[in-house]
Symmetry: C2
């Protein structure tokens, strides 16, 4: 497989970075090609804005998704977006590597999603979910958080983890057509000693070694909805 790790953490020596490095090592040892896009290191600009489109379809009124499609069709994407998109199109597996902020990705990574997962090549009109532009690829969230495992679950204080992650798992990775793997969460990280952190890295390595055997999460399929996207039955 070709694997892209998009990494966003403001501390270069974070445990999240150690997870990223462990992933590179394990995946390469398994024979996969791996590339890393470190958004903080490259000073990625996460702000979706008019200046993203030097050649506008409508210079007077910005509809971001429409200008994305136009820039894609006309080959006028700026280099920073184009480079990231090329990596996404290259990859068979996308790993988003981040610390959980507010039960979601940091703004740095949200902006990568906003700007790089272009209307056009990755989705558009009725090309989403299992008909999305990136069908055939896989997606994985790998993140650190402060909470403990018992704080997530059916009767837990924050409810099921996947419910909190829904806009990312279903609304982003699956939206563009990816098979979404069960997320890898590293709990309670700021409070752990080195031994406990080592155990998490071991668990992550083991998880990555059997990636290709994993069944993806299950989500609705478009065949169960009609042309206007009403449920069929």
């Amino acid at each position: 497989m070709k694997v892209l790790i998009v990494h966003a953490h403001p501390e270069p020596h974070s445990f999240t970075a150690a997870m990223r490095d462990a992933a590179v090592e394990v995946l390469q040892a398994e024979g996969h090609a791996v590339r890393v896009s470190d958004l903080y290191a490259k000073g990625f600009d996460p702000v979706a804005k008019a200046a993203d489109f030097p050649s506008r379809q409508n210079p007077d009124y910005l509809v971001y998704a429409l200008e994305q499609r136009h820039a894609w069709d006309s080959g006028t994407l700026p280099d920073d977006i184009r480079n990231e998109l090329d990596l996404v199109l290259w990859a068979d597996l996308l790993i988003l590597s981040f610390p959980m902020y507010w039960f979601s990705v940091p703004a740095m990574l949200k902006g990568w999603i906003d700007r790089v997962l272009l209307s056009g090549p990755t989705y558009g009109g009725k090309r989403f979910y299992d008909r999305g532009g990136l069908v055939g690829k896989k997606g994985l969230l790998a993140f650190t958080l402060g909470a403990r495992p018992h704080m997530f679950g059916e009767r837990a204080i924050h409810g099921p983890l996947d419910d909190m992650l829904r806009p990312l798992l279903r609304g982003t990775l699956y939206y563009v057509g990816m098979e979404v793997l069960a997320p890898f969460a590293a709990y309670h990280v700021p409070y752990l000693n080195d031994a406990a952190r080592g155990s998490i890295l071991d668990a992550y390595r083991a998880y990555l070694r059997q990636l290709e055997a994993l069944q993806p999460l299950r989500f609705p399929r478009l065949e169960d909805f009609d042309d206007r996207l009403y449920p069929r039955d």
Copy 2:
């Protein structure tokens, strides 16, 4: 009431901006004090980063939330964060005004959440949910999206809207202790004519006029969990 509208849209003349302006007008007419923070207009920086803390507790290793707490305690927050936080602390009602990107807020607004809702004054340790730092305030999401109403709901293609919004409604606004009002969603906006847009503005005005009578959304309360945050029964 004192109302803060935090607005983030890359198009200054967007319909989302028209909703913002309608809110200012209606709320002022109802006798409320209203302030607007327009993040794109002020060039707000959404990136959580080491440079947010000129005087670090730990200069060698950045744990963002810990440095937030330290900067708050030591009065060393940079002006851009401090100014936004002062507005939040001033307000009785916070309205987040944005176009939905990827079933969430644009990175610009996510970064406002990451950087401004500080560990310390807004939450910390077991000070969250109904014991959060901003108990007594109200929060509201008011946003535009391309999808149609029938695409959200129990059997709909995207499932219930509030489920997609969970990290924002429960994981952010309720997390810091706010009473969370039912979100106001303006559907299908890029495809509507002026008359249809006018109807949405009317509906939004009517919604805002009866804000104070609304019951907040229901979420778990900490009294139902023990000291280690396990469910009590």
